[in-house]
């Protein structure tokens, strides 16, 4: 199973004998090359589907992609079961998913972290595809606020996995958040060119720490584990990503200030439910702070009341639409700290 991701346990126990709506149906999830165990969207997506499966009684199947060219064949294999829904995880799979959805209009598809707009016209290309998009910049902004207010050295670190556009979104939101509360703070930005090399993560974090950084945020999957290790050894703050990492890495909880939550589990859960219950609709669902698809987790209970208050304040402002959080470096350049 997909580990200790914080999908809330199925509370509503099913009455005995009552036929579940998903009985006899199949939902298949296909991971990207990160695969299960990425402690990120693959695991979270799985957790959401697992929960749905328990509640609704459908059979959950999983196919992990070893390489990029497994995407299409994996989808084709999944199609053989005539599933109620195929959930493809990760923006890397967008093209393959759109292609398959176009060829199989009777099957429901969902793509995590994607829209399904490959021709770039701003519209979803197919009708039977549910795009699940997240506004990671908003959550990153909030943890940036926390970092900016927490730092004593006015030096902050950011470690990205690879310089993907989707990862730059984290970087952009985070820097904007820091600048909004602490214009003097400097942010060291470093990319590991890896999502798995823990040692490299630890080296980068240590280097940033040596240069004075006392709060470091990561959007780098497994590389982040190295950050946590460095944080614990040197006693500085780390900020987690995707899941509430104070809960998933309890050994390091004392040094995980908070985590940027990306509720992929909620998204896949709802998608599966709608598909099984027959209410599925091809569309783009955006999960931001307003939709509660993005948030800040504090499983380590390290945020002070004051910080929580600040975070809430900025959160409310974003939800109200007082300003837009930057999602690219250009937008960060142009970003002016709003008065709130």
């Amino acid at each position: 199973g997909g580990g200790e991701t914080p999908a809330t346990e199925g509370e509503e126990g099913q009455a005995e004998g009552e036929a579940l709506p998903g009985e006899g149906k199949v939902v298949t999830m296909i991971t990207d090359t990160g695969g299960l165990g990425d402690k990120s969207f693959n695991d979270l997506a799985y957790a959401g589907l697992e929960k749905a499966s328990e509640e609704l009684g459908f059979e959950l199947k999983i196919l992990q992609s070893a390489t990029e060219d497994d995407y299409a064949p994996n989808i084709q294999t999944a199609l053989e079961d005539n599933p109620a829904l195929i959930v493809c995880v990760g923006f890397m799979m967008e093209q393959a998913t759109v292609d398959a959805a176009a060829e199989n209009p009777d099957i429901n598809f969902a793509i995590v972290d994607g829209v399904g707009d490959m021709d770039g016209d701003g519209q979803q290309d197919v009708d039977n595809l549910l795009g699940l998009k997240f506004k990671e910049n908003e959550g990153s902004f909030l943890v940036g606020v926390a970092a900016g207010l927490t730092t004593e050295t006015d030096k902050i670190g950011y470690i990205g996995g690879m310089e993907f556009p989707t990862i730059i979104v984290f970087e952009s939101g985070f820097i904007a958040g820091v600048k909004s509360v602490n214009p003097d703070a400097e942010v060291y930005v470093e990319y590991a060119d890896s999502f798995g090399d823990i040692a490299k993560g630890k080296e980068i974090a240590t280097a940033q720490y040596n240069k004075g950084a006392d709060v470091i945020y990561h959007a780098a999957g497994g590389v982040g584990l190295g950050l946590f290790q460095a944080a614990t050894e040197n006693d500085f703050w780390a900020i987690g990503v995707d899941a509430d990492q104070a809960l998933t890495s309890p050994e390091n909880a004392d040094n995980i200030l908070c985590s940027m939550l990306k509720r992929v589990d909620t998204a896949t859960y709802t998608a599966a439910r709608s598909a099984v219950e027959g209410t599925f609709e091809g569309q783009v669902q955006t999960f931001g702070l307003a939709e509660d698809g993005i948030g800040v987790g504090d499983g380590g209970e390290n945020l002070t009341e004051e910080l929580n208050g600040e975070i809430e304040k900025w959160k409310a402002a974003i939800i109200e639409g007082q300003f837009t959080v930057p999602a690219t470096r250009e937008e960060v350049e142009a970003f002016e700290v709003p008065e709130i």
């Binding site: 084709q76 923006f91 770039g120 556009p165 999502f195 090399d197």
Partner: protein, 381 residues
Amino acid sequence: MNDGNKLKKITKDLWLILRFPLISIAAGFFIGAVLILIAGKNPLIAYIALFQGSFGGVDKIGETLFKMTPILMTGLSFSIAFRTGLFNIGGEGQFLAGAITAIIAGWYFQSLPHLLLVIIMFILAILAGAAWASIAGVLKAKMGIHEVITTIMLNYTALYLVNYIVRAVMNPQILLGTKAEAHTVSLPDAARLTKLKDVFEIFGRSSVHTGIFIAVGCAVFMYILLFRTTLGYELRSGGLSPDAAEYGGVKKSRNIIMAMGISGAVAGLAGAVNVMGITYYVAQSSTTPGYGFDGIAVGLVGGLHPIGIIASSFLFGILSNGARKMQLEGIPKEVIAIIQGVIIVFIASQYIIKIIYKKRKENEIKKEKIIPEKSKEEEVR
């Protein structure tokens, strides 16, 4: 010889050729079964799934052929160099070089008609793979720098170079002005290889594309090159005995550069075939694609012979394709890797069987008291 005897002989020959691989495969599956049992699943169901996934219809066979396409080519690539006495671990980098070159060519020549475009892309990818490998080849030939080091280093260099090109050169953001992506622009339709299913319905959903013909063509090419051409004779001789080849007028350095170049060319072509056949773009990645490394295993298991490599890549295709179906049965996909590993272990240690045969032969001789060699010579005198 009558037909019955002939048939018997053919079956016997076939058995002689196939016995090591078959025993190895059986051992791999046996150990795999144990692991599946430990994981609390039924091996029988798992293996039925595996074979259904790989053979359960033309479409499934198509899928196996699809899986086999790139590794057949990288297996050939590795073997050509190995036969010349070079250990090319650089298939990964050469594969990437070919892939990214195909993208670049596909973009800049996109207005050309399909066939011409495809040919140009192939040629450029071949050149790119060859050039990338030739760095190692030239350094070895001219300066004696061990190709194991250079090819390993060049793999990583290629990875990061390609990542850079994807992000900062061939990105849709830059070429099309749309939003930034983690991959290059996609190949236009004219630059894509035809899927067999689009021509023959019988291939169902499978992803197999015309690249399989190119891959098999490469095997034929390698066979002809190695065993029918003068260059092949020189390459093989140089691999077996560099000094003797040199004595025979074969230039060592030329041999090395040629072998690395051809090896890289095939790997580069593999990269192009892969993007043109399935992914249509190259994405940023934290790891090399892995086909180069798979090629080492495929080549060695195939005994470095084109026919053997076709067979071993088919076997690897079956395994990794069948793994999909096994996964759907909830069986850890790692079991497949372990089965692969065990098969290779047994193929590596086929000597056990050879020893048994040798002992048996010796005993036969002892019994029959074969006349020593020299008495035949006496007749000649």
